[in-house]
Symmetry: C2
């Protein structure tokens, strides 16, 4: 069901009052992008910022969803209202993982203070990098104290998406090479906390050693910097999730006190602004392509009377 843009302010008000269906519809609008998504972003903007966002990333099959569910169980008794966003930037034609995630999260499906939502790519690549921070902001604006932002895979888009988080958890599994894969995927630089999930399997010590070694090489943790701790969990039991939750709290306090949180959020504001500017310019190109001026210049390029760089100059300075 498409939402009429005129309904958005009313839906936003309803979502702020706790109506889950209104919130779900607004998130669908954000997923689709465009002008209606912008309207929601602008309504949510002044009311967001009080919540805290945790990114959870790692290879498919590492147990991120189960871990997220276990973490929710750990957080809920403290009375926090939670949002969970599971984001899949892979082809819109898959979707299997997303359904699986919903099934694994069903423990919390009836909890009115846990809002769970999957988002997949609609339309152009990179759309989710725009949609994710807007969705987080909407969840915050409508009252979630914590938002867990889970990606389905690992890749450049996923790294961009968890860039919308305040604290990032990187999940690996025991066994040869998993830590090296995480390093290759660029997860070493974004991890604030490492979790070796499925820690009842063989190879935990080797994986911990690999992670420690790579952290040593990265030089993190000197001069009062945060050194990402390595936690072992068995999310299915669950085991070790209490320590992970405590560690999350520690990291939050740490970056809040040393000013890093403010710095991260400032950097994110810049990145989001840049993405919106790029989006605007892309829209401009699309409008330009449909214009008579473009068609005329294109004809001149075709006939060889004007080179494409001169033509581009005429279009871009306009």
């Amino acid at each position: 069901m498409r939402t009429d843009p005129a309904q958005i302010p009313q839906l936003f008000k309803a979502a702020c009052e706790g109506e889950r269906l209104a919130l779900a519809r607004l998130l669908s609008v954000i997923e689709r992008g465009g002008g209606a998504a912008e309207t929601i972003g602008r309504l949510a903007f002044p009311m967001a910022g009080a919540g805290y966002t945790v990114g959870i990333t790692g290879a498919p099959g590492s147990g991120k969803s189960t871990l997220t569910s276990a973490l929710v169980s750990e957080m809920r008794p403290e009375g926090h209202s939670l949002g969970v966003l599971a984001i899949d930037p892979s082809s819109p034609f898959t979707g299997g993982a997303i359904l699986g995630d919903r099934v694994r999260m069903q423990t919390h499906a009836l909890d009115p203070d846990v809002f769970i939502r999957s988002m997949a790519t609609r339309g152009h690549l990179g759309g989710l990098a725009l949609a994710a921070p807007a969705a987080v902001r909407l969840l915050e604006a409508t009252g979630r104290a914590w938002v867990l932002l889970e990606t389905v895979g690992v890749g450049q888009v996923e790294v961009e998406i968890v860039g919308a988080a305040d604290t990032t958890i990187v999940v690996v599994n025991p066994g040869w090479g998993d830590a090296i894969q995480a390093n290759k995927a660029g997860l070493m630089e974004i991890a604030d906390i490492f979790v070796i999930n499925k820690a009842d399997r063989d190879g935990v010590d080797a994986t911990r050693r690999d992670l420690d070694y790579m952290l040593d090489l990265s030089g993190l943790g000197h001069d009062g910097e945060w050194r990402p701790p390595i936690h072992c969990t068995v999310a299915t039991e669950p085991q070790g999730v209490g320590q992970l939750w405590a560690s999350l709290g520690e990291h939050r306090r740490f970056i809040d006190e040393n000013g890093e949180l403010a710095k991260r959020r400032a950097m994110r504001a810049g990145e989001e602004l840049e993405r919106i500017v790029r989006e605007r310019l892309a829209e401009k190109v699309n409008a330009m392509k449909a214009s008579a001026g473009f068609v005329d210049l294109q004809r001149q390029v075709e006939s060889g009377t004007l080179d494409p760089w001169q033509a581009a100059n005429q279009l871009v300075t306009e």
Copy 2:
């Protein structure tokens, strides 16, 4: 060795006179992109268009390089001057395939009328889609009557790259599913000629049947349209390459006479113009990010006094 932009006109002149080293240096400049690449593009523009470009694409391992080499052997006795561009849009860190290609092409390494060159991604994604048509144009402007444009893999970028060709050959291998993979990769729409290479292996009939079936479904070849023929080759022998070369000539005549060649080149002019416009706008964003205005607006977004969409409006309308 970086080329001084001031040297470009002189290098271009030398390349037109047949100096291979000058041509190689100009192609390196095109590969790197930016203003110097534009200078070359503009010099070559008025002199290009007389040559003919053949795209050769297909999955890694399908024998494209060997086939290209065999095709060159078939074409050379007719006295054509040739350029071969092997383009690898995958990570700059691989490069193995490129080296392999060069080895496979060494039959022609000493032929002064065959210019062979590999190009890999430097810098941003999509850069090769800009560099490929410029490189083709330079090869044409400096006297190559035919340019063979070979991609290393199959993917969206490769499909874009062979979009710079007048005739496109899609290479598959015998065996279950190869034709279906080609269809999935979007190669069915761009193929003018199919080649089942390694046709001494089992499964040729099944692959031919699959291709025929998909061509039937696509409805191509009706009302005087070209229906892509399916050729069988064993490029290593070589076998069947003479028929392929004849078929290339037929397709060239066909699209030349029915006006399709002019239409394709016109469409390409439009696409190239669009890419250059996008590139220009991307440069604008980068310049903008470094400006005092951007930093100031970013601060306002950070502090919550301005939402990022309003900030973007101020930047983009400027």
